[in-house]
């Protein structure tokens, strides 16, 4: 199966089941560099599973996923981990910041995992924190900042390696609408400035409105949505 021309990340006929529960049942997906694609659908529809499969976190039972022309299934765990470290970025619903590290250490963590020195990693991290307007929180720990601030720190962490693809799983799910809007604005601006593709999993239309294209997942199947302009 060949991926759509020009796509950075593409998936075809993905199937994944957890025991008797079918999460994905022939889902397809593609995204181009710099594109923001929202994956929508009700709870339990398979959105997060699709994201996990696309990011190489969970292997699908069948189907193909290609990233920059490379089939993910042919990579071993170490190669997929390396891909996630260097090419992908992640934002989760609750930030998932390491509570014992300061905010700047959290943001610098992916760079440090890639072997960058601490000083250099924290310098770059501070630059991203500044862009996301949380540089004043650098020395604070996650427990000492608000939910919105924490999520912005998480976005900075996801972008610090200048990833080619940013995976955001309900990034505003735990935030109020005002904070959610601000986080989405900063996230999409920052992603566009680096030409990063964004896979945005959400069930909120308000959040999906920040995307260029929407895909709906229902009962494990996906379909493109036409957007009324």
């Amino acid at each position: 199966m060949t991926p759509p021309p020009g796509s950075l990340l593409a998936a075809e006929d993905l199937r994944k089941a957890y025991g008797p529960t079918v999460a994905l049942d022939g889902a397809a997906f593609s995204i181009h560099p710099g594109e923001v694609v929202a994956v929508m659908g009700p709870s339990g529809s398979g959105k997060s599973t699709l994201l996990h499969c696309l990011a190489g976190i969970v292997p699908p039972d069948s189907g193909s996923i290609t990233y920059a022309g490379r089939e993910l299934a042919t990579m071993n765990d170490a190669q997929r981990s390396a891909l996630r470290r260097s090419e992908f970025g992640f934002v989760f619903q609750f930030g998932q910041l390491v509570p014992e590290l300061t905010c700047v250490e959290n943001v610098a963590l992916p760079l440090r995992l890639n072997g960058t020195s601490r000083r250099e990693a924290e310098r770059t991290a501070l630059g991203w924190m500044e862009r996301l307007e949380v540089d004043d929180l650098a020395k604070k720990r996650p427990g000492e900042v608000s939910g919105g601030q924490g999520q912005r720190v998480a976005v900075a962490r996801a972008l610090v390696t200048t990833p080619k693809v940013l995976f955001a799983d309900e990034p505003t799910g735990a935030l109020d609408s005002l904070n959610g809007e601000r986080v989405m604005e900063l996230l999409t601006d920052a992603a566009r400035s680096t030409s990063a593709a964004v896979v945005l999993v959400t069930h909120e239309a308000r959040v999906a409105a920040w995307s260029d294209r929407e895909i709906v997942v229902r009962d494990g199947k996906s379909r493109d949505m036409e957007r009324a302009v």
């Binding site: 996990h52 976190i57 992908f88 601490r118």
Partner: protein, 774 residues
Amino acid sequence: MNVRQWWRDLAMGARFAFTGGREGWVRMLLTGVGVGLGVALLLLTTAVPNALAVRHEREEARLDYTYGRTTQPRADDTFVIADTDTTFRQSEVRGRLVEPEGPRAPLPPGVGRYPGVGEMVVSPALKSLLASDGGKLLRKRLPYRIVGTIGEPGLVGSHELAYYAGAQGLAARIDHSQVNRLDHYGDPAPSTERADPVLVLLTLVVFVVLLMPVAVFIAAAARFGGERRDRRLAALRLVGSDSRMTRRTAAGEALAGSLLGLVLGAVFFLAGRQAAGSVEILDISVFPSYLNPSPLLVVLVAVAVPAATVAVTLLALRGVVIEPLGVVRAARPARRRLWWRLLLPVAGLAMLAPMLGQGRDQGNFNQYLVSGGVILLLVGVTALLPWAVETVVARLGSGSVAWQLAVRRLQLSSGTAARMVNGIAVAVAGAIALQMLFSGVDSVYTTQSANDVSRAQMQVSVPSGIPLAAAARKFARTPGVRRAEGLAGGELGDSGKDPRSSGELTVGDCRALREVAALPSCRDGDVFVLEGGQHDTPQLARSGRTLYFDPSYSGDRGAEIAWTVPRSMKRARSVEDPTNVRRSGFLMTPGALPAGAARTLYQYVYLSLDESVPEAKEYARNTAAEISPMADAAAWASTEQSKRFTSIRTGLLVGAACVLALIGASLLVSQLEQLRERRKLLSALVAFGTRRRTLGLSVLWQTAVPIALGLLLATTVGLTLGAVLLRMTSTPVRVDWASVLSMAGAGAAVVLAVTLLSMPPLFRLMRPDGLRTE
């Protein structure tokens, strides 16, 4: 606030403890098992004094020797009994030959009827040993037909090897030591021996040292599942519980956990008690029925353990503010103060100080001061460790990602880490102190054996009346025996009754005599006077003088056989014999012995063994038993230790190993719980490409740093306590670094084991499933 409300809150807590699905049950089970293991160990400890007492009573009840020198007349209620104890490999075998002299002769405890001649009754352990392939050599030594087993009242342990064999003609061999005539078993007036104060001190400290970590362990077990519980309490606050109510609910939950722990502890104890019957440590085994803790101590455990867990839970909640919207821990908890933490060990030292220099001779150590002092010193470790960990980790810089994750985690919650390590630190500190004490008093209890084991490795005493030369030849033909030299010893006095002066006599053939002296020349019939011995008596060695074999003393009639010192007597230079003694007195070849003198002598054979022959000692013992069941074969070792002292030391090692294993289990449980709490975070870290190695190493550092600090502190406190205890016993302070390192190494091994064991669950928790929210 009424009692009803209190009860309702407690009951709600108890209900929370048992509900909450699989995870709730697992947590409850972990807490229960943790507390249960501690309770079982406590119950076992409280049962030990009773077990020792029962062993002592049984030993006393079967006592079958007298110290008198007069022979009781034969009667219809007397019996003659001969001590034929032997050793098989490393195990002692209690053996008796018995001959009832009348129908009313009492039976030994645990024996239903006297075995006939050629028959024996045996302990169950001996019966199975004799029936096994491994017992074949022993079977040859005990050629009697088994006609019954000795019941529990006649044995001091389930693994004791013992037998009573029927015999004939024992009365002729009564010697008031190995063979006696008696009309009862047991000592009618058992003497209470005054315990050696140093041994009492050692035992006391061993108990405290083993029980302290158990207390720490129970406290740690009470905190299992703390974070989840706090979140649950926050939910309660949301629906209207005030902070007091939530605390009571938490107390109810802890109480339920500890009650389950008590039940499980009782089950573990009963199972362990049953299993104790099949265990033998250093020749000491017990019957399950011995392990009955005193009811008072059981009640104490049943009250103290739940009370302690509730207290620990409430203390843990002290630093936590449970708000309706979540749990708030002070972001920067108050800095730990050193001064009051130092007070504890200082107070402990102050309690021990008055007893410094008392030593063995100055009477008893005050057991309350000793226990109190040791407890305070060890509690001092638990108080100082959180401060030490906090102070040190606050100064630790950044390194690799794994190191940074670990250090930051420790900086954020050093208390948790310190609590986890406390148990090990206390156990190691106590063990180091005890090892030092043991090594220090080693010289008192371990006597360097005087025997020259390069010349002989066994000494067999041969009952008089048995031809010594023939016995020596029989030994020489035994597999594994290189050389056998038979010698006999006796006494020569200057008069037949109550001699003013007496000298030693050694009898043997020329070859055997050369083991004890340098002889100018020798042939049978020669007599020598020794020079250069330890107690030379030249006034006796005048030719023509009449001396007496086996002189009589008041109350002890001897054979009084007269012998004239011959003119042909030669001089011989005494050399060190195989027992490293320079003998004095006379040497005599068998041909020079006057008639009847041979039976006044005690006979023995030195055996030089070929250690390359497997079971050489057992072959020699079998030969000894063939010569006479009453021949006593003793194997020589280069050092000999007081048996009681050795058992305390072994007890400590076994106890320390059990406690370390217990603490290791608690560390593992806490570690796993912590990992489970961080499941989502771990999955997120994996999502953005964190290597397994990085997370594994961070877990290792997270455990290793507090453990290293704990071991350092434990070593310091342990050495201090050890030095104090040595000063108390007036023993020169000497550090046994080998045991310090071995104990510290054991602690470190526990950390490594815990880290390794937590790796598979860690890797499982790192799976992406943790990211699933739906």
